[in-house]
């Protein structure tokens, strides 16, 4: 028999149901895998042994191990956002998604590494040091949910949760060869997710295949009175969308995503994937999203502006770090924040504070919000003529550790294809669609209208079930 840790949640559910597999065997097996490989991958910052059993035996995820990104609060378990400023913080409450997972019987095995406060595209800004890409330990796993994606790819967990503000679920999923979904803004409660940019953040699944993503989204989605931006519309049974058929589905391919500078192998793999869907009966047409080239600029105003405001709460008063021997109150704030925040967090706080400060607000923040309207309108008009949109997830496969750390702008541009979905609030998935000659995974992004995750699942499932890419595993 295969190792249990290498299986999907739906396969394990089947084994428990049909063969009477004891769920404690699954977490034991997964824990053994973590011991064997995490010294090299460094995807997990804390294993929560106290959570290793969940006695609820009837839930949808009963006995299934899941890894939680370290910016999602788990009651009494250290939660740090991979930042020194939150060292030792033990939340006095559970995030709504955590509560839902525990009610569904999932086993919360631990916390995943990430870029500090989710600021990054490579996992290199973590105060714990970088996570490595399981396909090539000299490369980055992507970010900011790099620990979650790398752990799923390395079989250190069955499922994982990430969060996505500008691509932080989809970009690492693409670079690690796994499935990552950013749901529609408002689909999943953000209560207990430590805020980065409140108008963009969304929690979502990172999994080994599309079926697991549908299963996990079904558990975490839904209205929550603790998050007034969560939307009160019914959660469909997403597993019903797992239909291998795209006949007649209208697929839009935006010309602005196939630009100069995109890696040749990525370009080829994505075009080949589109060809496959066409051969399966999808109606493919070129479309235009004319404001695409402004998305990164708008995002690097809106994101940091909201972040600088959200991060004002880390001042040494209520939790986390407090600097020693402050002269007075202001000095305590300054010393605590200067010591506690890492380089990228400071950079974004500075950028955001600048864009919001007197005399600059109209030129930056307000302008960016108007561009956001334009980007949203681009998608609205595109979805009049198509059911989903297909693009590459990233402009290139995983880059080398250290390659972009001294050039923040080039790091920011690695999110060029994922950012528009956050600005428009629409759902988007990344699924594996090929490998480079060096054996690095390539991701395909599928986007749909708000609250139409079902079309995404159908298209993604059809592609996945017609290919073998999701079955390939890294050698560790």
């Amino acid at each position: 028999m295969e190792n249990l840790y290498s299986l999907t949640a739906h396969a394990l559910k089947e084994l428990m149901k049909k063969d009477g597999l004891n769920p404690s065997k699954i977490s034991e097996d997964v824990f053994g895998r973590i011991e064997a490989v995490d010294g090299r991958v460094k995807a997990i910052v804390r294993v929560n042994k106290s959570k290793f059993s969940n006695t609820k035996s009837s839930g949808k995820l009963s006995g299934i191990p899941i890894l939680i990104k370290d910016n999602i609060c788990v009651k009494d378990e250290e939660t740090t956002c991979a930042s020194k400023i939150l060292e030792g913080f033990r939340p006095p409450y559970d995030a709504t998604v955590v509560k839902k997972l525990e009610e569904a019987g999932a086993v919360l095995i631990g916390k995943a590494n990430m870029d500090e406060f989710a600021f990054g595209s490579s996992c290199e800004t973590s105060c714990y040091g970088p996570t490595k890409n399981p396909w090539d330990l000299g490369r980055i796993p992507g970010g900011s949910s790099g620990g979650s994606a790398a752990a799923v790819a390395a079989d250190e967990t069955i499922l994982a949760l990430g969060s996505d503000t500008g691509g932080s679920i989809r970009q690492p999923a693409a670079l690690c060869g796994v499935v990552g979904l950013k749901p529609t803004y408002g689909r999943v409660s953000r209560y207990g997710l430590i805020a980065f940019a409140s108008s963009l953040d969304q929690i979502g699944p990172i999994t080994k295949d599309v079926e697991d993503a549908a299963l996990l989204l079904g558990v975490i989605a839904g209205h929550d009175e603790m998050d007034s931006t969560s939307v009160d519309i019914p959660v469909p049974d997403y597993t019903k969308s797992l239909v291998k058929d795209v006949k007649g589905m209208r697929v839009g391919v935006p010309k602005e995503y196939f630009i100069k500078g995109i890696d040749k192998e990525v370009d080829e793999a994505v075009k080949k994937a589109i060809g496959l869907l066409k051969s399966l009966g999808a109606k493919v047409a070129e479309i235009s999203l004319p404001h695409t080239e402004y998305a990164v600029s708008a995002y690097y105003i809106v994101g940091p502006a909201e972040a600088s405001s959200n991060l004002a709460r880390f001042d040494g008063v209520q939790y986390g770090l407090r600097a020693d021997r402050p002269e007075d109150m202001i000095d305590m704030y300054v010393k605590t924040r200067s010591k506690g925040f890492g380089d990228e967090a400071k950079r974004r706080i500075l950028l955001g504070t600048y864009c919001l400060s007197t005399g600059y607000y109209d030129a930056y923040y307000l302008k960016a919000q108007k561009i956001r309207t334009r980007i949203k309108e681009d998608f609205e008009s595109a979805f009049k003529a198509c059911d989903c949109i297909i693009t590459p997830t990233t402009p290139s496969p995983a880059f080398k550790i250290g390659e972009k750390t001294n050039d923040p702008l080039s790091m920011y541009l690695s999110d060029i294809f994922t950012i528009p979905a956050n600005l428009a609030g629409i759902p988007a998935i990344s699924i594996p669609c090929g490998f480079s000659k060096d054996g690095l995974p390539i991701g395909l992004q599928i986007l749909a209208k708000p609250f139409d995750e079902e079309t995404i699942f159908r298209a993604a499932y059809t592609f996945e079930q017609s290919t073998e890419y999701h079955k390939r595993k890294p050698e560790l």
Partner: protein, 99 residues
């Protein structure tokens, strides 16, 4: 759009309650200048009469609830993570002049 220099970065750092070393000031000034110069391409887009989007979903409306008493975090739990506390208070350096 305006650009950024060391004096501006220093001012912004003060607003954000950060102190920067000379080396940090140097690095952030040039990096932020490069980022802002990239961002300035937004000028190309005519946004006259375009309403701003502060929230992605048009379905959002004000959310109200009935004002009823419900259990909430107790003081001990709320203070459990405090770097310094006294009785049921967060303790901070003195802010009012006097003894």
């Amino acid at each position: 759009m305006k650009t950024i220099d060391k004096a501006v970065v220093k001012h912004v750092a003060h607003l954000a309650r950060l102190s920067l070393s000379d080396k940090e000031l140097e690095a952030y000034s040039s990096q932020l200048a490069a980022i802002l110069s990239y961002i300035s391409k937004l000028k190309e887009v005519d946004t006259e009469n375009v309403p701003p989007t502060s929230h992605a979903l048009s379905t959002l409306k004000n959310v109200f609830r009935i004002d009823v008493l419900k259990p909430s975090l107790n003081a001990d739990d709320a203070l459990a993570n405090a770097p310094q506390k006294e009785e049921s208070f967060f303790k901070v350096p003195q802010v009012i002049e006097g003894k």
